[in-house]
Amino acid sequence: MSILNKVKDFGTEIKTHWNTPAEGKYVPYKEYKDVIIGVGANYTGSKVLEYIGFWSSCFLIMYHYKLPYLTFSVIGLLNMPLGYISALIWWYVCDNLGFLPKKAEKKVYVAYGLMALFGISTLIFDYSRLFNQSGWFITTLNSFEGMSATACFKTFGTHFLYTGWVGARNIFWRKKLIPKYGRYKYGLYCDVIPKCVMVILIGWLPVYNIADVATRVWVANLLFATYNVFGFGNVLEECSKRISPNLQERILVRSYPVKISHIFNSILAIILPVFVGMLRYEWADINFYRWIIPATFCISAACTMFLAGRIKERIPQPPIEKKVQIKFWDGMLGVLRNKYLLINTVVGLIDALGNGMLPFATILYFYTFRLSGLPYSLLVALISFAGTPPDLLSPYFLKKFSYKQIMIFYQLSRAIGNAIIAVAMWTLGDNLALCGTICVVVLFFMEMTKTVPTTASHDMNVRIADYQMYLSGERLESFAGIFGWFTGPITTFVGLIIPIFLLKYGFNSNWEILFFDGSRRNIVVVPIIVDTIGFFLMSIPYFFWDYDNRKQNLVMEVLKRRAEVTEKKAEEEGVSVSGGYIG
């Protein structure tokens, strides 16, 4: 058949199935169009938000707040105890989609209310004054980098306020919106407006001018916590990963419309730095956060909301009224039966070896090459583009190679790439042109070999949740967080080794030490070597991976059958059915 005929047939196929999907498929081509624009806008908006974050590599923190590097670890430590407790309630609520027995719901609301009240009281009163100021407790709090006992208590209270506020919203909005919008994108409808307001406020509130570091830390923490109450994740893409129970269709949507949708962000990634380059102090200019980020985000958010309703998730599941009620302990023990979550946990544990290292590409672009404006955009775009052609061939690679092969290749290619970068930085550190070129070439190849494994991994995560649904009757995506508890002691401790090492070589709240060749070499190379070892080790667990397409197809058959039978029974009983999908 000639190419012309193939194109003609393709045109006819699209026309025929524009509104109704072909037999055996679930997604009409009209929805492909909505995925391109909707996911594009949502992805762009969520990417823009990556410029705002309570972490040391955020430009707002780096150039304006100037918070000590270890302070973020201290805040993590303060939030840890409550984090553990609140996670239990959170998982229970989320994996029951917000639908709890009446009594349990009331108790949870009361708990969240009390947490929020306690949080507010810590912001009003200084509880640290209740303790002996010369005692071990207060002097230990005072010894934390960038903190004082007062700041510690206020940070601690902020987490209570945040947990209570977010928790109560979580139940309220899930119950109200999930039956109508599904489990992945419902959050957009309740969060988008407050998120836009917070994005604007974060650039305009001059909190970073507070002179005392400890006060600046807790006020910034409060501001960012409030900002984080409202989400704007890449949820439409999450929907698109579950757009069909048909494996092939899922991968096709993921590889073409979703990939094409990312072009909006690629264009923005070129334009944005050009605008930034026009500012006098470039990335350090506060106008970036006052004008450029809010404007870009609000436009993306508006486009997202326009198309959000048209992208559907199609997980074969019983109607919400008839779904399996997950008891707390069933959730806990249920996820522990999932072998593939266990393997991923081991991988994550080894991955913690690189925790706390600074973003190498940022250092390369800003401190080695001193890039800004269009040259920065072009280099970033070039490297990002490296992953596009292989990603378009994802369906081919995923058919040709098993997940196990793809992931082992991925880990080893990272290890080799990082090793080359480390050698180049160590031996050619002050020859910026040569060392930088080697690094860019390696980054290019690493990006090229990254996208197919990323696609495979995203798809596998959906499959693991399908498998969990087969095992436990629910996806238990939240209860899966329990694995983090087992690995917590190791990841937390290991994750502190690199930051403490970086401090020794002068890295702290002032990133400009990276202009100093001697420090830059140590700050960058040693963590990369540690990360390289991690990548080598991370290939080992994948040798035990045996979940293949055949097993997945069988699991989907079971899920479809469950949905079909449950819905039939519900209809026979005259119960209203919402949120279900037979497939």
Partner: protein, 408 residues
């Protein structure tokens, strides 16, 4: 079944599978090769499993918190034994230490019953253990310490020890110290051939000394204020400006001695002054060289007191380190003398910018030697200032065989 066929089946998306599951087995049907579903069924050894689970979690969480506290808790003073004695290696402020004496191994002792965190402690010294060296980045990014006193036994100080100490106003050195001294709060080596550290907030010390009640913002600066606070005369004995020695200082004018040979990495990096309460802008406007060989007073009085004075870098200068003058966008004029043999990468990075179509700052690089001679020098990448041209950056023009501009 061959290996190839097996692989085809397991990898094939289109494998047409159909399961005939009876209605009453939908929650129990087990897919071959996978674990059996477990839905709304009691677990075996349920209580035991729960107990084991809770115990494991409690241990994991406790260890997690314990290790984290252990790693994050900082002693106020940390020392290391070295071949040359005791090295002061890390300082972590209690939040209320404004003066720091580095002479003997010290520790914090809290005063029981005193509930004021600002006064409830004292520094206790062990005078049998003198400190002999100070490690690089010991006080990194401290924002409380205003005065540092260096004892007589400290014989080795890394110039980067006080990097980014934003509140540091002056450094005092014991007069019996054999290797170091201070000149009006600025750290030098003993024979004053090396300038080691001009404290970040030295201008505050000078304001107090010369009777200025408050910091003047950029547009409020008077000639007297500029002379007393924002002008610095490097003593005539100095041959070297050490790494990062003047970085972040609030200076508009620097007078260098003609005998200066080396300006190290980041030595004059990002000098800045306040524009208002909220922001700062580049401050360094001019560098002058003076010829007089007996200048010891670092306070500027008149040009005449310095003998003959000419614009920009001294004849006799050999080495300009990487990023030596970066981010000084207010610098008006640079002249590279013929004596220079090495210019590090990004030595004058971002020393100019474009505003209203005009290049401001160092808009041309004046070089004493001709193009041919200049090509023989060791020069790092991107050492010239660059400005925005279209969407790209362009280096400023070089003016070879230039004559030095006269002092206006």
């Amino acid at each position: 079944m061959s290996k190839k066929e097996k692989k085809k089946i397991t990898n094939d998306w289109g494998t047409d599978v159909h399961l005939d599951i009876p209605e009453d087995e939908i929650w129990t049907y087990q897919v071959p090769g996978l674990a059996a579903p477990h839905i709304n069924k009691p677990y075996k050894y349920y209580t035991l499993k729960k107990v084991l689970f809770v115990i494991t979690i409690v241990i994991a969480v406790s260890l997690s918190i314990f290790f984290s506290v252990l790693a994050l808790q900082n002693d106020t003073f940390k020392y290391e034994e070295t071949d040359n004695g005791i090295q002061f290696s890390k300082f972590s402020n209690t939040g209320y230490l404004y003066e720091l004496e580095i002479d003997y191994v010290s520790d914090i002792e809290y005063i029981p019953g005193n509930n004021d965190p600002a006064t409830n402690f004292k520094v206790v010294k062990d005078e049998t253990k003198p400190i002999t060296s100070i490690r690089q980045f010991t006080l990194n990014c401290d924002d409380k310490v205003k005065t540092v006193y260096i004892g007589a036994n400290v014989t080795d100080i890394d110039p980067k020890a006080f990097y980014s100490c934003w509140a540091l106003q002056n450094i005092e050195v014991d007069e019996n110290n054999p290797n170091y001294c201070d000149v009006d709060g600025v750290l030098y080596n003993k024979d004053k051939t090396e300038l080691l550290c001009y404290p970040c907030d030295h201008d505050e010390y000078l304001r107090q000394k010369y009777g200025y009640e408050k910091e003047l913002y950029r547009d409020e600066v008077t000639p007297e204020y500029e002379r007393d606070i924002q002008t610095y005369v490097v003593p005539s004995t100095v041959k070297k400006l050490s790494e990062m020695c003047l970085n972040y200082a609030n200076l508009r004018v620097i007078y260098l001695p003609e005998g200066l040979e080396t300006i190290e990495t980041l030595a004059v990096f990002k000098l800045h002054e306040r524009v208002d309460q909220w922001s700062t802008s580049p401050s360094l406007q001019n560098i002058y060289t003076y010829k007089s060989s007996d200048v010891t007073d670092t306070h500027f009085t008149t040009k005449e007191a310095l003998g003959e004075v000419y614009l920009s870098l001294p004849d006799g200068l050999k080495f300009i380190g990487s990023d030596a003058f970066s981010y000084n966008q207010n610098l008006q004029y640079v002249y590279i003398p013929s004596s220079v043999t090495y210019i590090g990468h990004h030595a004058f990075w971002d020393a100019c910018y474009k505003e209203d179509g005009e290049i401001k700052g160092v808009n041309v690089m004046n070089v004493a030697c001709d193009e041919e001679t200049f090509a023989t020098l060791t020069v790092g990448d991107d050492w010239l200032p660059k400005y925005d041209k279209g969407f790209f950056k362009k280096a400023v023009d070089m003016n070879y065989s230039a004559a030095r501009e006269a002092v206006k």
